[in-house]
């Protein structure tokens, strides 16, 4: 009987905790990608400032309303601009950021190819 009770409790509690964990993971992921605007060099996740704490509440609310991660980013972008996102999209201000590594990789590759492989 005791075993049955224990078994029931485990069955009841197990799915609840995993749902909670999933939501927490999502929330942490989103807040890690949001910049705390009043504390330099910290994400909302890391910060304990008034602003960051309110932002965490808003993220929770939006998740409960069923918004997706992208929709939440979009929401904050309309309120505070691109600067609040740590992962900026490709636009006219950020294209160097995105294209430079590829360009360097290609040029570097070409130099290595020319000077080491072709020489042989």
């Amino acid at each position: 009987m005791k075993f049955l009770k224990f078994f029931l409790i485990v069955i009841i509690l197990f799915p609840l905790s995993s749902v909670n964990a999933e939501e927490n993971d999502k929330r942490n992921k989103i807040t890690k990608n949001l910049r705390c605007l009043i504390c330099q060099g910290q994400s909302v996740y890391d910060s304990d400032s008034e602003f960051a704490n309110s932002l965490k509440i808003v993220v929770d609310k939006k998740l409960q309303e069923g918004l997706s991660e992208d929709q939440i980013y979009k929401y904050f972008k309309t309120k505070y601009g691109e600067w609040i996102l740590y992962d900026p999209g490709l636009n006219k201000n950020t294209y160097i950021l995105w294209l430079l590594p590829i360009l360097i990789f290609l040029i570097g590759g070409a130099i290595i190819y020319k000077s080491f492989i072709v020489k042989k």
Binding site: R35, L37, Q40, E50, S54, I57, K79, I104, I111, K114
Partner: protein, 172 residues
Amino acid sequence: MKNKILPFSVIIIFGIIFFIFYKGLEDSKIYIPDVNTKKVIPVFNIKEFFSGENVKSSSIFELDKFYLLNIWSSWCVPCRQEHPFLMNLNLENKLNIIGMNYKDNLKNAEIFLNELGNPYKEIFIDLDGTIAIEWGAYGVPESFLIYNNEIIKKYIGPLNQKLVDEINLLIK
């Protein structure tokens, strides 16, 4: 010829990288909010300060009237500095000053108002700071000049005489 291409291109690449990083140094890393673009005011529900009743945002702001939404708190020192200017602005009949009490202890807020005067036509409570986020605010004090459900100007930090003059000009 071939030997010269390699050092030459390396120098050029490093030059470009140096230039980009150097340019990046000049940019401000501090968040500068966009204060000049007109934005439609957000929609929200909020509690009234004295009665505790829930109010819809649409019933607060009427068309064809100027509003100044002021986010304040009794624990915020700059709010104390700007309070006399709000009292002055209140003399202007055209402007309705709406207060939004940010993350405050209600008793302290009442003491603050008794001590320094109440320039607000209506006051609402934002206990967890989420409605300030709807407005795109990120601290106290912050003020929004509103006309026809649009934010025409945003003032970050305490108001001063110069800004009060500017507001008076804008609402004329």
